[in-house]
Symmetry: D3
Subunit: 254 residues, 6 copies
């Protein structure tokens, strides 16, 4: 099985963190490929940045999905995921969606620990779009400016403290360590947080494996069926091809 | 005052409908400029198409916002609007947001009449993202395939019937005629629907005028402040310049 | 165009604040008339006071709506607005409804800054009745007893501080300065609050102008159609006439 | 114990139905007094009518509450109830609030069977204001025009059929027969509806008795404390006296 | 009339508190019987303990309901109540359900004061299952370890302080003193809390009396009809008999 | 890895369906053990039956969890799952929770196809308890009485038709085939339903495997920490031992 992870941002150092945790998490025989967006920003904290990331993720998916058994949007907030689910010939998931699925299997209310204050509104809107606000206990974020590739090393203690406050003050049953820059942190601080602690990358890898094995089928009807055929212009050849393939062949692709 | 309307789709015929209704609605002295996306699809019905439209709208806004007093994303679903609100030096709104604001000033529960069945899920998610699901009575859409530039002529009677069913069966207090291809229809069928009837383009034009005149200020803090400065690469010069201008100058721009 | 603003309270000093801000906000050619309730209380903080204000507003509207193109209930909480929308031959809005519409066009989550602690529950219930609780970040109010006509002068600094806390601590994207006694404050403190700041009176004036120009029509069906004809007794002649006119003539009145 | 029931409408025939069912429901030793509003409409179906009824109920309560151990607003929709709870020196309830409390003790989801189509929106908003929309299965109403004093006789079979549809099609666990004109119907059709069936008048009488006996106390703080003392003018002497008594004496009145 | 109260826990001292308050609250002529679970834990704070209590309550109800006019599950959280409502030949209620019904008749938002921190999540889930989360202001609990039979004596002052904080800081209109170990406390601290204060046992006793007198009927259809007849094995004879009686005779039992 | 599946009902034929699908779904090296409740009913449709099933599941889990790496409550509705999560020394999940997690990874709104009409209320309450009602498109169930072990054979066509109606009429993006008696049906009708289709047993097996491999940790704090130590009596030795072990050793057990 081959999983394609798409980092919709330009940070190679984060892609390396993603790849490392993905390989640690994957089942034997699962191949991991990680792509880094050639255009965009260092990491996503806002809706504008997410819009850029969504577009970049779609371009990469269109170019590279061939041969992948599932695609993972490897940024918290899942930019572009819902769009890709309409057109890809295989299952797709994202770090937030997958982490929340894990959290919901481990407790009733979860908190998200994040890398900045600014990112909190964007995460809250993501949780709301997934209909899970009633299970969100809180979102807490780091205050200090950050070096995105080293945030685990520089701020690990602070992140553990934030998680403890989520449990003690906000009533969290589960902690989600959010954002690709924190990939692998749950593993390295194992046992220090007194409730189950979830990592986005490993959740996405494992749930993607499950989706592949479940063979639940792709949507030929409903709101995730491929977009109806219609005039278009100026799309990259890969995006145009992806659209055409989805419109013509999804039934056969299953 | 100059309003910049961005059709995030490639249909010149729809841009003409938008421009016509915008000019009929605007106050004396308001200049209307309508842009058509050079890349994308004919009209948006799905999340993938909305993702393409959002990116195209952002590119156009970055290139052409200079001199505009407000920007309008001229497609129902408002692709890219929340992103643009973080970076533009002027107010921004969109057809859905503006139409729902009008509807909320005219009654308690509104229905949306739309151009296709498929588009309904995307509209429902847009309404939910705006937190207004409890005021949504129903979304009804046309069944038959459509010629996007002529839908008002070909299906006008059917649209009126759908609106009447929304009132009689779904409890709608207000009807929203949704989608840029229906721009101006509310005006031409005036008096035939027994509840207040709202058009997206005229709502957006009038609310944009209001936002300009209100001088409420732009966000220098909170979740609509400009994205924090950080590394980026491969952005178009216009998008990069827009980001930089927002980060440096929003205070001064007010 | 003539707008009739009804202060459902007895405070002439507040009516003056309302009139001043309404005239500053109105478009050229818009005539502003402000009425003060002859019976009632100084300002509304509770449900009982709102009930008194709603009845007074209805009496004034019945007596004086002739010649008005739109009616504005000029107190936060909009006492009587939904009732008047069923019977008036023209559009109607209120300070809260209009301010929330403005806020929703400027950001995702808004906070309300209010003139007292006691008033907070009444405002929260008003926001909930409009289905907008999910977009309400917080309501903060002044602690000290107040001189209603001079609260802007005496407590302006404190109100700015409350607004800043709403942004910093509660995640507000927009501030609504609530209550007719604060009419015009947004204008005088412009630029001091780091997010868009909304005033109820100017919002109501501008949105009322828009409703007049939109010609969306009045409800002949649905829950805002006039009350069905039935026996009544003891109503003031003006209220009885308003009811009768609505029942007979709403179609023609459009 | 003496219970004061206030019919906020002018229909003596309905007051008689209320009084009959109240006396059948009351415990031995409970005295029932029923007042009919001298001004207003025959029965409430809309927000405007409810506003009139609320004001009439408040006037009657101010004039006649002396000597009552509890006050009941005897119309579905509870016009004025929340306002009166702030100022009366005794517990107060209303037909809807009480019927919903009964329904919630008998099952998880309830439907409301009502006397007209038009009334449905007003009832839905009342249920929503009580925060109980998630337990509302449906509201069904009679189609035909009605003779308010004889609706039980003329339309009894039709009402039973509507209730059966609520159970079979809408998933209702409990039926609420709504509106003072249906007072006593639950008793007369006992056993014909296959789920527990609730009457507003008997619910209000019994819950009022309970509130009197519970001696839970009146609010001296929070949002149901009496309105703060402030200038007023033009109130009827009885309303002014009620306000003054509440402001001065609620602690002592307990 | 005879009311059967079932303490689903093993604490005789708490059963005594329940019996004392039940007898103080009951109407003349109402007989009170209190049973203590022979198996289970001292008091319920968690879902696992509630599951044990639900099963114990069902066994006791099956064995002892004969002759009772109504059954009360006498622990906060109402373990087993919804299950018993499907099978008992008489009305059933529980401390939480009854206390919340009382609270909803006394104000808009209520807070719960509880005997421990741990119990808060279980109470919050109970309120949510009743669809009343929007009326819940807060849940506050004691910090210190407790002697369950003496918590009123040892911690009475602390409980009053918690209630005052609920009013002042959380916006509570009503206080619910939660948990059978606090039975009677509302009575003994009467007047010390500045808002109406509700006790679960007295609420349940009075509402049970009302349910008996209302004769609203039992469900023969809908989700509280008896479970459909089907194979079973290993049930205690009393539970098997209760199921069989419900399936065969509910109509006749009314 | 060993997974313990507990059928909380007495139907051996259903246990066989569960075991077959579990073994088809499990990864190589995963051992499957299925237990059937010695006491209870044939299958769960109501709250009373779920209460019996929860207790039976807890007894079985207490007796047999030793050596299991994860425990699965193998009935839709997950009776006892939240309770077991507080006390077991390993992860636990259930058919509903797991199926909904799968559904949420495959689309935005899901419908549940179930084996009877009666079961619908119980399933709706389960979805609501998980906070996922906003993603539930509908629940449709079979009308005819059923032979629980042969429902797939006898009613397979009817179940496919119900699923198609969920897609076409209710807007479902994903179908959940609900209830252990339908275990394996998704596999056998693969490709006949035009949207992704989810099975509870295979979802639970795969998600349980993921939970084991994730090593997210068990709760030592928060609402899923073990119940506080306190007096108990009459518990089975296995339940008492499970409680004691959880209270003493959860930290060490991780």
């Amino acid at each position: 099985m081959k999983l394609l992870l798409i980092n919709p941002n330009i940070s190679d150092s984060v892609s390396q963190l993603i790849a490392d945790e993905a390989r640690r998490s994957a089942s034997p025989g699962t191949e991991i490929e990680v792509l880094t967006a050639p255009t965009g920003v260092a990491y996503i904290e806002t809706r504008f940045e997410a819009m850029l990331g969504a577009h970049a993720a779609a371009q990469l998916a269109a170019q590279h999905h061939e041969g992948a058994d599932a695609v993972i949007v490897a940024a918290f907030g899942d930019p572009g995921l819902m769009a890709l689910r309409e057109v890809l010939p295989c299952p797709a998931t994202g770090l937030t969606e997958a982490a929340l699925a894990s959290a919901c299997l481990l407790g009733q209310r979860f908190s998200i620990v994040a890398i900045s204050q600014r990112i909190r509104a964007w995460y809250a809107e993501t949780v709301q779009a997934y209909g899970l606000s009633s299970r969100l206990a809180s979102i807490r974020g780091l205050d200090e400016p950050l070096d995105i590739g080293k945030v685990q090393d520089n701020q690990g203690e602070r992140l553990v403290q934030l998680a403890e406050r989520c449990v003690r003050e906000d009533g969290a049953d589960v902690i989600v360590l959010a954002g690709a820059p924190l990939a692998g942190l749950a593993r390295s601080i194992q046992g220090r947080i007194p409730v189950p602690t979830v990592d986005g990358v490993s959740s996405a890898v494992r749930h993607a494996e499950t989706l592949v094995k479940m063979k639940a089928g792709l949507a030929r009807a409903g709101s995730f069926a491929p977009p109806p055929a219609k005039a278009h212009q100026g799309l990259t050849p890969e995006v145009a091809a992806l659209l055409a393939k989805a419109q013509q062949g999804r039934g056969a692709a299953q």
